[in-house]
């Protein structure tokens, strides 16, 4: 304070430092201690990434890490599937946007600078990962595939809005819906007829297990949730017992049980390969958690909605199908994505419990290769696996938070 009484202005940076790092003696102490810790951590991380880490093992085995022992001859099918899925995803996104425009929820579909920037920021982390993987790849194949996938997605996104904005009759809508639903199924069979998914592996297997199980568990979850809220005591008892028993048991033990003992319970034709067993266990397990999430959604729908549906004379099935369930499911989309993330992370358990050749298993096995044995490279491989899981899970949870905000403020 100067003699004139007017406060002297300090530089903004100093004010910021004082306010955010050195507010009190204790605060200063914390800043110094944790500052030292974070500098040490950053130093260690950077030196691991750029100096001490020997990443040759990743570069050499990139294919094993990503797709396992998928036969060389059929990799082209995989690439075509990826491109097809990218185009399909773009088409779907464009289609939904077109519908929104038609119903007046969104004004237009102009890609303004701010929107492009927003998309770029949102996609930056997965895009960086893809770029990293591409630079590690030793053949031009992945580059071509990625380029084609991006082009397909953009084309799909450009075409989608026209389809979405157009009004179709009930028959036309049914055709479009079934075509959209058929594309991923067709692509799946395109790959699986060449290489059954028992020979899939690597990160691809993790993604596949999670996607399959989340799609399959959904109907079962809805049924269990409705059953648990049912007025019929026996149905309620059965649903509640299933949900609570499954939620009380560890997934890891369930997987072990399915691996060793499923053959005792069902005929051999129904006790299929390890991958299928894993999918069955993940589905049955996640359905119980999904049921609890959906039950929360059902409870969040105001009673008046159901009463209104009754008042206009809808049948009980339609009350549920047209009025209550759509609102209930929409309310819990973020929680469902959370469940998908945790399921995705749990797919690593299938590697440990059942010996499936998924990413963590590959990462654990690589340091024992003849070329790399005894060099202690487990840190490098596990870091790579962690990075893959982290990017996918983090992106999903970010998108889910964004969705949550949008649904919260949206059109309600």
């Amino acid at each position: 304070m100067s003699a004139t009484g007017a406060p002297t202005r300090r530089p903004a940076a100093l004010v910021w430092l004082r306010r955010n790092l050195f507010r009190s003696p204790l605060d200063s102490l914390l800043t110094i201690v944790f500052g030292a810790v974070s500098i040490w951590l950053i130093y260690k991380t950077l030196s691991f990434i750029f100096i001490t880490g020997r990443w040759e093992i990743i570069r050499v085995n990139l294919r094993l890490l990503m797709i396992g022992r998928f036969p060389e001859a059929h990799v082209l099918r995989l690439a075509i599937t990826v491109v097809g899925l990218a185009g399909w995803g773009g088409l779907l996104a464009g289609f939904i946007r077109g519908r929104q425009i038609r119903s007046g929820r969104v004004a237009d579909d102009r890609f303004t600078l701010s929107r492009v920037l927003d998309i770029a920021v949102r996609l930056s982390i997965p895009a960086l990962l893809v770029l990293l993987l591409l630079t590690l790849a030793q053949t031009p194949g992945p580059w071509i595939m990625t380029g084609a996938a991006v082009v397909a997605a953009i084309i799909g996104r450009a075409v989608g809005p026209f389809l979405g904005r157009h009004t179709f009759g009930p028959a036309g809508a049914a055709v479009i819906a079934s075509v959209l639903a058929a594309v991923p199924v067709a692509l799946y069979f395109y790959v699986v007829t060449a290489v059954g998914f028992d020979d899939w592996g690597g990160f691809m297997l993790n993604l596949f297990l999670a996607l399959c199980s989340i799609v399959l568990c959904f109907p079962l979850g809805v049924l269990l949730a409705l059953g648990r809220r049912s007025a019929l005591p026996l149905v309620k008892l059965v649903s509640t017992a299933y949900i609570e028993l499954i939620r009380g048991a560890p997934l890891f033990v369930l997987l072990l049980l399915a691996n060793v003992a499923l053959g005792f319970f069902v005929p051999d034709t129904l006790a299929p390969s390890t991958s299928t067993r894993a999918i069955v266990v993940f589905t049955l397990f996640t359905a119980a958690y999904m049921a609890e999430i959906i039950r929360g959604g059902l409870q969040s729908v105001p009673r008046g909605q159901l009463e209104a549906a009754k008042a206009v004379g809808l049948s009980p099935v339609r009350q549920m199908g047209y009025i209550v369930l759509p609102q209930a499911l929409r309310n819990v989309i973020p929680a469902q994505i959370g469940q998908l993330i945790s399921l995705f992370k749990d797919t690593t358990l299938a590697g440990i419990a059942m010996g499936l050749f998924e990413l963590l298993n590959v990462a654990g096995a690589l340091p024992a290769q003849a070329d790399f044995r005894g060099q202690g490279l487990i840190g490098e491989t596990i870091t790579f696996a962690a990075l893959m899981f982290w990017v996918v899970s983090y992106t999903m949870s970010r998108e889910s938070q964004r969705l949550e905000k949008r649904l919260g403020v949206g059109d309600r």
Binding site: N20, P233, V235, L256, I341
Partner: protein, 390 residues
């Protein structure tokens, strides 16, 4: 609508196949019949297949010799399987209880740090939470053993010696421990807690009557320490420090590498989830509470400890209880790195020839039992602490 129809509906002439009550019961019976038939079908297959392969379906295997040893345990090879399962259960409970305590403390601190005024602390906590909770737990467990313990920790010859208190090497971590029976010490601790609780209650009632400061925490804590110290010397306990003895450590307690890795993986992973719950709960406490604390000139610590946290914990109890359940169930991952918890004991006995289905059924029942007990405790705590409104 015609009046006739309305009156007709209330009469008893509704045919039974259109009576809603009958239909509902028929539906339920069909569902139950299907479920029961399915279970019976599974059970029939199981009995047939077992009989075909001469595998027993009863629990007689519990009395057979276990034929394996549990690391760090005096269990002999010839001990029955039931003893091995009991030891496995104890190991599961040990790592779970220790993990729950540590994860609660770490998670609470990180959750508070995420809302700190200190920029650096806030960012560090955010990085920790976002980095950890998006990576599978199995990865932490495996990395904890293979990368940290076996990769980073030194060999026993040049072990890290932390001021003579603990010795860290890739054979495990040795920490100071007491000599004497553990259950005796547990009993002393229990007596101490009960006495402390009683004296704290008494101080509060005195405070209610006379208005003097209760200082119940001080009284209770002091009494607890007193009981502990008196009991320690009365029963002849003493400390034992770990020492390197050739290729081993003696004295103290040696924490097995697999326990160490599993414990830290569970704590680090679960704490990131608890931190998010704590942060959300603190933010859910009405803003006016913090402002009121500021208005009566409480210090930052007092504001947190006396005003914000008690209310935040009330909100946090159910979701944190869920995390405790998850931690307990996730401890089964110890089997992946050779920690002899319930799961690995079950796996090993099955490998040694015990029938798979009864063993895993028993394992599952024990886990479900632990879950039930935990959720009952959490529910009691929740009911005890829920704000009773008019």
């Amino acid at each position: 609508m015609r009046g006739k129809l309305v009156t007709g509906a209330t009469s008893a002439r509704v045919p039974f196949w259109r009576d809603v009550r009958v239909l509902q019961w028929v539906l339920q019976l069909v569902v139950v019949a299907l479920v029961v038939a399915f279970i019976l079908w599974l059970y029939g297959n199981y009995v047939d297949n077992s009989a075909e392969q001469n595998i027993p379906t009863d629990f007689g295997f519990l009395d057979n010799p276990a034929n394996f040893q549990i690391t760090g345990n005096s269990l002999s090879q010839s001990a029955p399987v039931s003893d091995a399962i009991y030891e496995g259960l104890l190991n599961t409970l040990r790592v779970s209880v220790a993990g729950i305590i540590a994860a609660t403390i770490l998670g609470t601190l990180v959750g508070i740090a995420r809302l700190s005024n200190n920029w650096l602390l806030r960012k560090l906590a955010t990085v920790y939470v976002e980095a950890v909770r998006n990576v599978p737990l199995a990865l932490f467990v495996v990395a904890g053993l293979l990368v940290v313990v076996l990769g980073v920790f030194p060999t026993i010859q040049d072990a890290w010696d932390l001021a003579g208190l603990s010795i860290i090497s890739n054979r495990g971590v040795a920490v100071p421990w007491f000599d004497g029976s553990g259950s005796g010490l547990l009993l002393i601790g229990l007596v101490g807690i009960i006495l402390a609780w009683a004296v704290a209650r008494w101080r509060r009632s005195v405070s209610d009557r006379t208005g003097v400061l209760p200082r119940s925490g001080l009284w209770g804590g002091a009494l607890f320490l007193l009981v502990l110290i008196v009991g320690w010397f009365a029963l002849g306990y003493s400390w034992s420090l770990p020492e390197i003895d050739g290729r081993q450590t003696t004295g103290g307690m040696r924490i097995d590498p697999s326990f160490f890795a599993l414990f830290f993986a569970l704590v680090i992973y679960t704490a990131s989830h608890i931190a998010e719950i704590v942060r959300g709960s603190i933010q859910a406490v009405p803003k006016g509470q913090g402002e009121a604390a500021d208005a009566v000139a409480l210090s930052g610590f007092q504001r947190m400890w006396y005003v914000i946290l008690p209310q935040a914990f009330r909100i946090a109890i159910p979701p944190v209880g869920n995390q405790y359940l998850n931690l307990t169930k996730n401890s089964s991952l110890g089997a992946a790195i050779g920690f002899y918890d319930l799961t690995l004991v079950a796996q090993t006995t099955v490998g040694n020839g015990s029938p798979a289905v009864p063993v895993f059924a028993l394992t599952m029942i024990i886990y479900i039992g632990i879950s039930l007990v935990t959720s009952v405790i959490v529910n009691i705590a929740n009911r005890r602490f829920t704000l009773v409104e008019r």
